[in-house]
């Protein structure tokens, strides 16, 4: 007897997009209808981290959730000629990517929600283009960070890049996060392309600091929500708190029992923090 396939509500497809004069083939997933909610994955990962948000009916009843793989990540190819350069993400390049993506999809004042490096870039965008976004949600995002390991370990011939990347970030997951999701999150890191995590960390740890300007973000024009996991030793609750104090009017939640990957390491616990934020944004949009 044939079993009926049990499809999830996510629709995935590719779009071709030019940003900074370079053609990209971008993989995009989306589900739901309503206010556009663009989700950005962490460094060295891809949009699979957002699958639980995409499948959450309480969210997709109000929001059109859209999650794309950044170029070089997941199912988005690197650009033609990639073999000739080292990948390195910059603040300007990342901002332009997100802006180009939202413009190409003709999104009307989307909400941006990013995690880690995604959480940093949404803060940059709240400063650069506050009227383009309904609100930004920075998960594990801060305006100033401190590197705590040497990224040269991430891309060298005598160390498996995927395994060492997963090994590094395993400590960013809270001890009580479900084993299934802990290992799924690490699997994503094991699949990252060579040097991609390292190239992302250039933005995350070096080029992306902007604590000298973050205080200029106007939260009246673009509300800012900061959600920080207790066990995140990169964007620690203290660094998120310092960011919140600089961005007047921002709202900070420290999520107990969560780490650096709230949406993928413990989706059930994360949604308890996310749903009230999305509800508040939706009410403000009426």
């Amino acid at each position: 007897m044939r079993m009926e396939p049990c499809y999830e509500p996510i629709i995935g497809r590719y779009c071709n997009l030019e940003t900074a004069g370079i053609e990209h083939r971008i993989y995009v997933e989306e589900a739901g209808e309503g206010i556009p909610l663009v989700c950005l994955h962490t460094a060295g990962a891809d949009n699979r981290q957002c699958r639980h948000v995409l499948c959450d009916e309480e969210i997709t009843n109000t929001y059109r959730v859209i999650a794309f793989d950044a170029p070089w990540h997941g199912k988005s190819n690197p650009p033609v000629g990639w073999q000739n350069d080292d990948y390195q993400l910059t603040s300007d390049g990342y901002k332009e990517l997100v802006q180009s993506f939202c413009s190409a999809l003709d999104l009307d004042q989307p909400v941006l929600m990013g995690c880690s490096m995604g959480g940093r870039i949404v803060l940059h965008l709240a400063l650069a283009a506050p009227d383009d976004y309904r609100a930004v949600i920075a998960l594990e995002g801060a305006d100033r960070l401190q590197p705590y390991y040497d990224t040269s370990w991430l891309n060298r011939p005598d160390v498996h890049g995927g395994m060492v990347s997963a090994g590094f970030v395993s400590g960013q997951i809270a001890p009580e996060s479900p084993s299934e999701y802990r290992w799924e999150t690490l699997w994503g890191y094991m699949q990252s392309g060579p040097g991609i995590f390292k190239g992302d960390l250039y933005f995350y740890w070096q080029d992306g600091d902007f604590d000298d300007r973050s205080g200029k973000i106007d939260t009246e024009r673009c509300p800012v929500y900061l959600l920080s996991g207790e066990y995140d030793n990169s964007c620690t609750p203290e660094r998120a708190q310092a960011t919140a104090e600089r961005i007047k009017g921002s709202k900070l939640t420290v999520m107990e029992g969560l780490g650096h990957f709230p949406m993928s390491e413990n989706p059930a616990l994360f949604r308890e923090h996310l749903l009230p934020v999305l509800e508040e944004i939706a009410l403000g949009s009426e």
Partner: protein, 123 residues
Amino acid sequence: MDGLQAVVNEDASLQHWGRCVSLEFLLGVGNTDYLIRIEEGNVTGVRLRSLPIESGVFTIRAAADVWAEHWRPVPKRDYHDLFSMLSAGLAQLDGDITPLMQNLIYFKELIAAPRTIVEGAEV
């Protein structure tokens, strides 16, 4: 540390993660140094360092109370992971850490293995 050898060697998954590891490393617990010998992922010996000239390929060192917290079933933040301990200044690494990096998940799981022996581990 008495139970480390047994708990690792009863864990087939952990041994698989360490199947390419054969070396001796030093684990410093306060003022006590343990030399831990590994052969293809199995712990084949845990012994006290008896001579100053004895060393491992690399050393992981932390205070006894830091390890005690690390080995609790649900450690506090900063104590829950080797690299969290390092970034918080609670642990130190020395020596040739290349084999550690080549097998990072294995070594993290190995040094956390006492968690499964007893809550609030005695060291």
